[in-house]
Symmetry: C2
Subunit: 389 residues, 2 copies
């Protein structure tokens, strides 16, 4: 297997981006990533674009060619990758494999999503289709807050997790979001703010849920030879990727206190990278709802099953703690443009590993190993990516 490094990253401002169209939004990530890598668009041989809402949240049914052309990437090989909310990671995996297999020397993973061109109820309907469409969505109308409320209730019943615990995730992630100029939500909040916010699907309240966000992120990957040729100062190496899918049919799940796909994908990623969970120094996990972050701690082995809340209460997932998580604000505060999120996680971790994040958000590092955990659906897809400087 050829060694592959990240040589450039870019991330647009996340938020309500009705000021730009899909291709213009893509450009806001692509351009800085090219500058960061010190290459021109013409040098990119393959582009994997992560996007879900084509023809749903925004009108372009086939966004890859329009976005890549607008960014000057025409003539590169091109594919759109979709794995629900893990699409950005799926695009990253495809771009990685294309370089690692020897097919290309430079490839780009580009996430772009516009979710706010249409009304929220319609967006929620589309997201709901990412569950088990034929049975759960079509017959019962369940949408995503409902799915994760099932998980939250199960976790509370089994492990004594409280609504205050869930709120702690939101408080932490909004704190870091307030320090991140790219974040969608930049307001600090308190536990009381969360508890007193509108109930969406009990026990989840408004501030337990991530927002609908527009945004883009770009990651440029290169072979080891190319890294040398370009004299990249601080390449960030892809140490290993793990992936899994899980049943889309909730009635077939063994339990609701975690996601089997997360467990499997992380185990595979650790094996591929040859590292253990306790070597990870900074992590991005999929906190589409507050309960999801707690389950992720447990599923990817940052702690034992049922001890996620302890980690949280002790502040171990904040900067200064054992394993800082989502210090860019996470999906919860930075925002969750679904096809983009996986690439945006890699953007943040690359900058962390290069120690170039604005001071209060930079995690102190010793081993320089980072992990991104990205879920599609409620564990229908999972990608875990481990990076190493």
């Amino acid at each position: 297997m050829r060694k592959v490094a990240i040589i450039g990253v870019g991330n647009s401002k996340f938020g309500n981006r009705n000021d730009v169209n899909m291709a213009e939004l893509a450009f806001e990530a692509v351009q800085p990533s090219l500058v960061d890598a010190g290459i021109s668009a013409k040098e990119v041989e393959f582009v994997a674009l992560g996007s879900v809402g084509a023809g749903a949240w925004y009108e372009e049914l086939l966004p890859a060619v329009v976005a890549s052309e607008y960014c000057g990437l025409t003539k590169a090989g091109l594919v759109r990758c979709e794995a629900a909310c893990a699409s950005g990671s799926a695009a990253f995996q495809t771009a990685y494999a294309t370089v690692a297999s020897g097919q290309a020397e430079i490839a780009m993973a580009l996430g772009v999503e516009k979710m706010r061109e249409i009304d929220s109820p319609i967006a929620m309907e589309w997201i709901g289709r990412a569950g088990y469409y034929l049975w759960e969505f079509h017959n019962f109308g369940i949408t995503f807050p409902g799915y994760y409320a099932l998980h939250a209730n199960a976790h509370m019943a089994k492990y004594g997790t409280t609504e205050e615990d869930l709120a702690l995730v939101a408080v932490k992630n909004h704190k870091y979001g307030s320090m991140n100029p790219k974040a969608h939500l930049q307001n600090k909040i308190t536990v009381d703010d969360v508890l007193s916010s509108m109930v969406i699907a009990s026990p989840l309240k408004l501030f337990d849920c991530c927002p609908l966000t527009d945004g883009s992120a770009s990651v440029i990957l290169a072979s080891e030879e190319k890294v040398k040729e370009l004299k990249i100062e601080t390449p960030v190496w892809v140490a290993g990727i793990g992936y899994s899918s899980g049943t889309a049919n909730l009635t077939k799940r063994a339990d609701f206190v975690g996601l089997e796909a997360s467990v499997l994908a992380s185990q595979r990623a650790y094996k591929a990278a040859g590292v253990t969970a306790d070597q990870i120094e900074v992590a991005e996990v999929h906190d589409c709802f507050t309960i999801a972050e707690i389950m992720a701690y447990e599923d990817i082995g940052l702690c034992r099953k049922g001890e996620g809340v302890k980690l949280l209460r002790e502040g171990q997932t904040e900067i200064g703690g054992k394993i800082p998580v989502n210090v860019d604000g996470g999906l919860k505060a930075k925002g969750h443009p679904v096809g983009t999120t996986g690439c945006s996680m890699i953007y943040e971790l690359t900058r962390q590993l290069r120690e170039e994040v604005e001071k209060p958000r930079q995690v102190p590092l010793k081993n320089y190993i980072a992990l991104a955990h990205n879920v599609g659906g409620t564990g229908h897809y999972c990608y875990v990516t481990i990076l190493r400087r």
Copy 2:
């Protein structure tokens, strides 16, 4: 680069498949491909699903997880690949790269498309969005027969191609479709049938256009080590893949007599495979409209530019000729379930290289080298795959 082989293929009956849903249709390809490879679904580590019409032609927005679960593939890594009508080839490339990079030993490329659940005008609208959405589709309402009519008129003006020449493509491909039990259209037609059929977008008539088709195709790929371990009798090796994208904006094209993306992708594929065009013994090319097949001959170097019609008139692209093309009926008669086509081309070529096609359609082989050419949009994407026994 690790060597990767095709070890199993499957293809559903193409046609109007309102008798099955999307997942059931996928199963009709997956199951025979597993039997063909002699493996169980649990051995597949990664699945790349090619499909375009999710949420458009059929209701599942996120088909990969539903289709793979129905086929027993849960726990495999999973992604949907979309590159318009080249989505099947894009899925094949992703599955190939995942094995070639050393990430997986066995991966599957699965194409599935249901295009006939909705009315044809709506299907045509969705396909039209695969052009340049913002300008050409939205402002002028151009759909695909119109795009390819531009190409046909340009080719006729420059090279003296006639409407009868275009008809010859349809006659040839219907002839082979009539011998292929998987084909959507199995009726033989004459030049007169084509010329007297309804004008769709002059000079293209009904029989110059491929049908809207439901269908699925599955291709299982394995590493060289796995091929040995499984004692695969006749592995078909992936010799090389070439890809390119082209401008989505027709006003930026240098001319309309060919597709630059096809030229580039084929040159890259020949280079990757280390073969020349004259070594190819059987080819599948993207004949969504009759003119597209003639342009493909020229663009991928089966003849010089402007000499495609000569090749056709001489019968060189029929069995017995220099380079038989689309002897499964092609998109024109076998049908064109857009996300499936790339995988279905590989299905046909694999069986040709193994010399297991029903007698009159089996191409006599000496070098055992085959080529699949798959276009998305009007050259917005192109993938060329070269196989070798």
